[in-house]
Symmetry: C2
Subunit: 490 residues, 2 copies
């Protein structure tokens, strides 16, 4: 059987595409470094030659539609780009083709203060959005990497340290306008806070990693800016003790602003890195938390509860501060943790790999212990000089386990991260809590949802993108059998 999907990326065909988009006055660049930058990011380096042949810079939904229709007619693959902070190869132009970059679409289209929603274009960053609306006392609470843009945040279904309190992208996008491979434009809803009108196409797009449609406008739900902010930090004798505080807390009905738990090695990395100046931390499991609320009384209640719970679970130290400078030091230590791990490299070319599993919170300590053991065993087997650290969005049961190891141990490190993902699945979890699948977690996704689950996703992909032009090879292989033999046809 011939392959379902065939592309024509010949110069002739690309020239024909550019001639057509030129007729509509649509901007593009052929500059080599611009093209390379779209597929080959710091977080997700592309293999050589897997870069787009042209980068389109649409200014509207309509221009995006014209580009996609023209690409679809010509069987030209399309990747899309907004902030470029995703992991796992989600942006790699595996088939070549062209890129649609949303850097000319960074506007707030409409702000509805009374309804606490905002209509934005996909190239707008969450940081920039929040800068523009903070004077109104509201914010968009999803906090991935600072460079992330709304379009990519929707594509990857991201979250961050605020998700425990405010939910992920899935809970904070009201509706979407997106363009299908055919160029057809879909608006999922207007701006109602809830709807039961037909299939939930909004959520189908969120997390589809640019494979089903390109989002050109989004209605986002805003939240009141937290008030009476406090930051707390508590050191525990074990990771489990920190988890137990969180389990108890959630039964009280109190909801803090954020809950993050780092293990001893992660605290060591923070110390070694020097990225948290004026502070040396105990190198033991440490809970970072934020408390805020609409009144001082609410906050005092929560402080009392956290003081009691930390004491009951054997915290060796506890500090809760409302001083701006002190809060910046303490929370800054949490925010620098990804970067801090780079300080644990022994050699400049050492690798830094990490996981993104999420499990039911009661299984989080088992996941971290199991991960530490798996990595220690793998390091020993490789006579390796490996470093392992864990930091979790503990309120969501989501943990990033990091490995720093010699470049020669790449294969072994990847293998052990696969074992970690399998452990998360045995512990009733998911292989990716917030980073998405990209290329690297395709096999893990197959283990999570099974051949039937992947084939059901693939059927949706085929239904909406018959020629497979949108971000091919991401989330799952385009054709069954490329990646799995266990799946059977629906």
């Amino acid at each position: 059987m011939p392959p379902l999907y065939q592309y024509d990326h010949s110069q002739l065909n690309i020239d024909s595409l550019l001639a057509e988009t030129d007729r509509h006055g649509i901007e593009y660049t052929l500059d080599a470094s611009a093209r390379d930058a779209k597929a080959n990011t710091k977080h997700s380096p592309a293999p050589p030659n897997e870069t787009p042949l042209a980068v389109f810079l649409p200014r509207s939904t309509q221009e995006t539609s014209i580009i996609l229709r023209a690409c679809n007619e010509r069987r030209i693959a399309v990747t899309s780009f907004s902030g470029g902070t995703s992991f796992g190869g989600a942006l790699t132009a595996t088939k070549g083709g062209v890129c649609v970059s949303f850097e000319r679409m960074q506007e707030i289209v409409a702000l509805h203060e009374d309804d606490m929603d905002v209509v934005v274009q996909p190239g707008l960053g969450w940081v920039e959005l929040n800068e523009q609306i903070q004077d109104l006392g509201v914010f968009f609470p999803i906090d991935p990497a600072p460079g992330a843009k709304i379009g990519g945040m929707i594509a990857m279904s991201c979250s961050g340290t605020n998700a425990y309190r405010y939910g992920t992208m899935k809970e904070n996008v009201v509706s979407l306008t997106f363009v299908l491979a055919s160029g057809r434009i879909i608006k999922t809803h207007n701006r109602p806070r809830k709807s039961s009108a037909g299939y939930d196409l909004t959520h189908l797009l969120i997390g589809s990693e640019g494979t089903l449609g390109l989002v050109t406008e989004a209605v986002l739900r805003l939240s009141p800016l937290p008030q009476n902010m406090h930051v707390g930090i508590a050191a525990f004798p074990s990771f489990q003790a920190g988890v137990a505080v969180v389990l108890q807390l959630q039964k009280t009905g109190h909801k803090l602003e954020a809950l993050e738990l780092a293990d001893g090695p992660q605290m060591q990395a923070t110390n070694v890195s020097g990225l948290a100046p004026r502070q040396r931390f105990e190198e033991v499991p440490t809970l970072f938390f934020k408390i805020a609320g609409p009144s001082g009384r609410v906050v005092r209640d929560q402080i009392q509860i956290m003081e009691r719970l930390c004491r009951e679970h054997g915290a060796a130290s506890l500090e809760i501060s409302r001083d701006d400078e002190r809060m910046a030091v303490l929370w800054g230590a949490r925010k620098c943790m990804g970067q801090a791990l780079l300080a644990m490299k022994r050699r400049p070319d050492d690798l830094f790999l990490h996981s993104d599993c999420a499990v039911p919170i009661s299984n989080l300590a088992a996941l971290v212990e199991g991960t530490q053991r798996l990595i220690a065993e793998a390091a020993a087997a490789n006579q390796g000089d490996w470093f392992c650290a864990n930091v979790g969005h503990v309120g969501d049961g989501n943990v990033h386990s990091a490995i720093v190891c010699p470049v020669s141990d790449y294969a072994a490190a990847k293998t052990v991260l696969g074992d970690v993902a399998r452990l998360a699945l045995r512990l009733q979890g998911t292989v990716t809590g917030e980073h998405g699948v990209g290329i690297e977690l395709r096999d893990a996704l197959l283990e999570e949802v099974g051949g039937e689950g992947v084939e059901a996703m693939r059927a949706v992909k085929r239904a909406w993108d018959e020629r497979g032009i949108l971000n091919p090879d991401k989330v799952f292989a385009l054709e069954r059998g490329e990646e799995d033999t266990v799946a059977s046809k629906l």
Copy 2:
């Protein structure tokens, strides 16, 4: 072109189906009243003869899979049934065929107290679920009609008075196990609180009204039972004044337990019905609310704020009570409102019709005023003796506008409800906030999401249910052109 979908509901084919399911020991009934009860409910009466030919009573995911595979092979249409409280004809067996009823699957499969989630079968009611878990201090917060079961609640993406505080089904289902038309079994995830692993099949099923797959197991998120409960009621000079309180409230960051707003005629109906004994209400716009919180201090804060906001917006009266009996009287008045409208019938055969639109909250008063005007105009044009009342889940911008009118004005009443839906769309809303589309709102859905939107949904349907056996004709017509002429192919 021949129709894509053809069914064979001949006696021979049905007998062959029953012979196959018999071999697997799967229970069914051919009893006429049992069959009729599955398609012809109080809320959604079916035309004569649109009832299933047999009702299957599976006891497991595996049995459900066997039934669907056998039906699919034989081109037999399948409706599904759990509580039967849906509106709009969602349960009607328009093609005949068979029904799968989940009355033998009412179990709690697993309860995870620490993780605050529960695994349930689709035939379990939310009321029964909450009775079984209340001693643990937790509950499942979605509160549609008391007879609703989890399977139907997922199918219809329902909500209720708690949605403002806790979200809808979309925010409270962790993952699903469902069976495709082919019999293939999909488990969307395990039990992580969040996941970015692949397309969001969980949300694709929620609100798909039994047309994409039959849910056989669901993981639900639980919440701590509200503590320190108070119920409040405030009378306002205008509907807009009540809405304004809610708009102000949400900017403070305080979140009450529930916020419901009724107009004067709705309060009149409550008085006339006698369903709220020991209480006669002012027949003016009235805000009902619940306040609760993990500590008395939190609750006192919220009481103070509501007292201030109600005063500032001209409330003629305000009562906030923590007395159990008094709370039951006040909230009971809210809960009886649907039933109370029946008291406004002048003749036994008078019709009671209603809408389910949701708009951005700032547009809610405009929707209610416009609805009152549209209905008054239609009543005058029909020299009719119509009654119109509105009650809204104001925290979500969702309002049920009711018409009570002579049976002879059926067509005129349906027309005006169509106009109300169109008004909601102009006000940036949706035609159904929580009841779903069924058959009756198919045209309205088309106006909401356009031909492209419906065709995108239809493409998913075709991809997963090639022969169109699952709840045909619901949400949209199976074949384009049956309902719309504006849609063009994707």
